[in-house]
């Protein structure tokens, strides 16, 4: 049984560009949450998707958007990249009432 997978593993973008990160949840999970982890910090909640809708959102600007597909996989999109968007982006999947299981993350570097 595959756990949570994320792609790509790492990427480098230039300021002002747009990026899309992808996440496939653990089998049997229907909820996907995204977190941003800056270097040396704890993860910060971006948003959560359930039944293809954004269910909760953290304190992130509208440049951060997402999508969930019928197979429960999810995408995180970031527009107009800033240097401060450089971070590890973690995806976590869960099912109602259970723990969140994390993927290995995508390391985004903005230059």
């Amino acid at each position: 049984d595959a756990g949570v997978t994320q792609s790509p593993t790492h990427l480098i973008k230039t300021r002002g560009q747009q990026v899309t990160l992808r996440c496939s949840p653990k089998s049997g999970h229907d909820t996907v949450s995204w977190y941003q982890q800056a270097l040396g910090q704890g993860p910060q909640f971006i948003f959560q998707y359930y039944e293809e809708e954004e269910r909760q959102r953290g304190n992130f600007p509208d440049r951060f958007s997402g999508h969930q597909f019928p197979n429960y996989s999810s995408e995180l999109n970031v527009n107009a990249l800033l240097l401060g968007d450089s971070a590890l982006y973690l995806c976590a999947s869960s099912s109602i009432g259970f723990e969140q299981y994390f993927g290995p993350g995508t390391r985004l570097t903005v230059t």
Partner: protein
């Protein structure tokens, strides 16, 4: 809003010794869940142990145990017989439950010395 505080940025201990990591939190909720996650250099966030606030008994998982003090809003992690593979960042996290978001502390970097 909930907050989670980890006041020990770094700790180190000799292999086979016992170490305790501290965590305090602030919430007005009565029912909630607390977690300790481990993040090794591979970056994968791994769940170590969980505690439900309505349970008075402290959770244990093999060499890992917690000291949950609800009134003091304290949630420490004890690692017994520490092993080299325990070297990692450790994060304390809070959730109201029901698939709500996780709120993390800033982490403690633990190094096990051979």
């Amino acid at each position: 809003a909930q907050t989670v505080t980890q006041s020990q940025p770094e700790m180190s201990v000799q292999e086979a010794e016992t170490v305790t990591l501290s965590c305090t939190y602030d919430t007005s909720e009565n029912n909630y869940y607390l977690f300790w996650y481990k993040q090794p250099p591979s970056r994968q966030m791994i769940l170590v142990i969980r505690q439900e606030a309505y349970k008075q008994q402290n959770a244990t998982e093999n060499r890992f145990s917690v000291n949950f003090q609800k009134a003091a809003k304290s949630f420490s992690l004890k690692i017994s017989d520490s092993q080299l593979g325990d070297t990692a960042m450790y994060f304390c996290a809070f959730t109201r439950g029901g698939n709500e978001k996780l709120t993390f502390g800033t982490g403690t970097r633990l190094t096990i010395i051979p």
